[in-house]
């Protein structure tokens, strides 16, 4: 396994309904986009990788450390606390040593461009800044693997660009897995794309390879959109 996360024959069943997997992949440094329609299983896969849920079968291996950095799809952070207070608490939960905690928090804030808002209460942050704080709390213990579940959803175009810049910056030396269904995120970020459809991994490759999957008859204005539509619709058949 390269520096990152690997999963083998990973599956999860919701009773007799939706079934995810079995899935296998190695994910190394850089940004990997996990793409799929709503309900394809992206968030379920993230919860399995983060350790929130126990898989029905298979296993997950995290390189180097036991705790990934994880941003849930709809984060619910304590709005009465300041950014520094919240990140210090998360650093404590992540076993960052007391002496290193202050620097870890400052570094995480710097990574997402929130240094000037270190002592701002979370309730006073804009939507974009709150998303960046969510990324910072996933980074504060300097994990090798960061899982971000739809980190750009709900952001305006400017905020989305800023968030993508942050993700590119933090992905230079760690595996950053981003769940998204936004085509512009994929085009702007992804070195690698995993495409889920109806619980199955239907594509694993880079953007040029994905674009080659496009059928001209598929809905979409660009080859990337047509390719994603082709695979998603194909996977649901």
């Amino acid at each position: 396994m390269s520096s990152g996360v690997a999963f083998r024959e990973l599956s999860f069943a919701y009773g007799r309904g939706f079934h995810l997997g079995p899935l296998s992949a190695d994910i190394g440094p850089g940004v990997t986009c996990l793409v799929g329609a709503n309900g394809a299983g992206k968030s379920t896969l993230f919860r399995l990788l983060a350790g929130l849920q126990t898989p029905t079968t298979g296993s997950v291996q995290i390189d180097g450390q036991d705790a990934v950095g994880y941003l849930p799809q709809s984060p619910d952070f304590p709005t009465g606390a300041t950014c520094t207070e919240f990140l210090t608490h998360v650093a404590w939960l992540q076993s960052v040593p007391r002496r290193a905690r202050r620097d870890a928090v400052a570094h995480a804030l710097d990574s997402v461009g929130l240094t000037s808002h270190a002592h701002t209460k979370i309730r006073a942050l804009s939507g974009g800044m709150a998303r960046r704080l969510g990324i910072a709390q996933a980074l504060v213990h300097d994990p090798r693997v960061v899982l971000l579940d739809e980190p750009t959803v709900g952001l305006d175009p400017v905020q989305r660009i800023a968030a993508r810049e942050v993700l590119e910056k933090i992905a230079t030396d760690r595996a950053v897995v981003v769940s998204t269904h936004l085509v512009e995120d994929v085009r702007g970020l992804a070195a690698r794309i995993l495409l889920l459809s109806d619980g199955q991994l239907v594509f694993d490759g880079d953007i040029p390879a994905l674009e080659r999957e496009a059928r001209p008859s598929a809905p979409g204005e660009t080859p990337l959109e047509q390719a994603m539509a082709t695979l998603i619709i194909g996977g649901q058949r």
Partner: protein, 416 residues
């Protein structure tokens, strides 16, 4: 203030429960003028009178805090971080520790104001009793946190408060003197505690059970299944273990929670008669002693020699020195105005006679004689007592002597 403390104060409801504890405790501390504040044991047990109000509050806020940590957008912290399990303990501790701290502080202040320098029962039992009370706060914070992990915040608070009220009735002796061990027992007393002491085994076992089961509940996490939090094996096991321990403990711990240790009063003054009271009650003895002096002086001046004893001793639980042969008993001294007829009746009461503590009441003649004796003695101090407007008459010294002589031999049939 540290970053951690600020974070806790800004994000948790738990620490603020301490304000409720302070309010209730101060209300209890000043209630009824805290009649026996000089007694160490009484002070500790008096301060426990408000616990049944505080337990649901502590449990409810701990439940709300735990439930908020478990919301879908927050639960990755307790469930995926390296110290995730500790976050529930951390939140519950921020409920329990401030509550314990302020409750203990109020008790210490009350002991200091009462001038308790050398408590009759000793400092170790008092400390252990405070630990037992503190353990109840920890236990209810753990109960609340335990419930809150599996429920939404509002429901968690309601369920935890309701469960706590139920526990406070099932597991405690509020309102009744239980003869056996109870997990939340020995909480609260309003009467003077001179003459009894704690069963230390009970207090120790109680503290151990509460702390141990609280620990079990605090470390047990539910599990996430299909994106929902449900009680998992650890949570269910912790619940069962707690129920079993709490149910079995009363059957495993022998003896009564309190034991009698009758002690005579040792703060004595005067000669004719010698008057002995408990030093803990010296602070509010003056009105009663002044009334006693007035009664004795008036009796002497009017020739009622049998009304004048050689010794007067304050009574307490299980201690009554009156013997019908020159020793009379004072009631337990309390702050407030003196009820002269009540004081007279207590001085005259033949407590040494078994008939007064028998299942059947004493003969009517006893009550008639007591009324006449009381009317006689209060009349000589200018406060005639005739509550039934029965036309009582003042007895002569000989008649008084005859009745008291009969009573000294426990003949309660002597008529005025």
């Amino acid at each position: 203030m540290s970053v951690h403390a600020r974070y806790a104060l800004r994000t948790l409801a738990g620490p603020w429960a301490a304000l409720v504890v302070v309010g209730v405790d101060l209300g209890i501390a000043t209630m009824r003028h805290a009649p026996y504040l000089g007694e160490g044991m009484w002070t500790v047990r008096w301060m426990a009178l408000g616990l049944w109000i505080l337990w649901p509050v502590v449990a409810a806020v701990a439940a709300v805090d735990a439930a908020r940590l478990t919301r879908p957008g927050s639960r990755h912290l307790p469930f995926t971080t390296r110290r995730g399990r500790v976050e529930y303990v951390w939140a519950a501790s921020w409920t329990a520790v401030p509550a314990i701290a302020v409750h203990t502080a109020v008790i210490i202040v009350a002991l200091a104001i009462g001038g308790v320098g050398h408590p009759r029962v000793g400092w170790a039992p008092i400390a252990l009793a405070v630990v037992a009370q503190g353990s109840t706060f920890l236990w209810f914070a753990a109960v609340g946190s335990f419930i809150g992990r599996c429920t939404p915040p509002l429901l968690a608070g309601i369920l935890a408060a309701g469960a706590s009220l139920a526990f406070s009735y099932v597991l405690t002796n509020v309102g009744a003197a239980a003869p056996e061990f109870e997990v939340l027992g020995d909480q609260g007393a309003s009467v003077s505690q001179i003459g009894v002491t704690w069963n230390l085994t009970h207090l120790a076992v109680q503290s151990v059970i509460l702390v141990a089961t609280a620990a079990v509940m605090l470390v047990a996490r539910p599990v996430e299944r299909s994106a929902r939090i449900v009680p998992g094996p650890a949570w269910v096991s912790a619940a069962l273990a707690t129920v079993v321990v709490v149910a079995v403990a009363p059957r495993a711990v022998a003896g009564a929670p309190l034991s009698a240790e009758p002690e005579p009063p040792d703060d004595c003054t005067g000669t004719q008669p010698v008057v002995c009271i408990y030093p803990e009650h010296r602070r509010h003895a003056e009105p009663t002693l002044a009334a006693l002096d007035a009664l004795l002086d008036a009796a002497r001046d009017a020739g009622y020699a049998s009304f004048v004893p050689t010794r007067v001793e304050e009574s307490s639980r299980r201690y009554d020195a009156a013997d019908g042969h020159g020793v009379m008993s004072l009631p337990i001294l309390e702050p407030g105005q003196v009820d002269t007829p009540g004081l007279v009746q207590r001085l005259l009461m033949p407590g040494w006679c078994p008939a007064l503590s028998a299942d059947t009441p004493p003969p009517d003649a006893y009550f008639a004689a007591m009324q006449s004796l009381t009317f006689t003695w209060t009349s000589v101090v200018g406060e005639p007592y005739d509550p039934m407007a029965a036309g009582l008459r003042q007895l002569s010294p000989d008649e008084v002597g005859r009745i008291q002589s009969a009573w000294s031999a426990c003949d309660l049939t002597a008529e005025p």
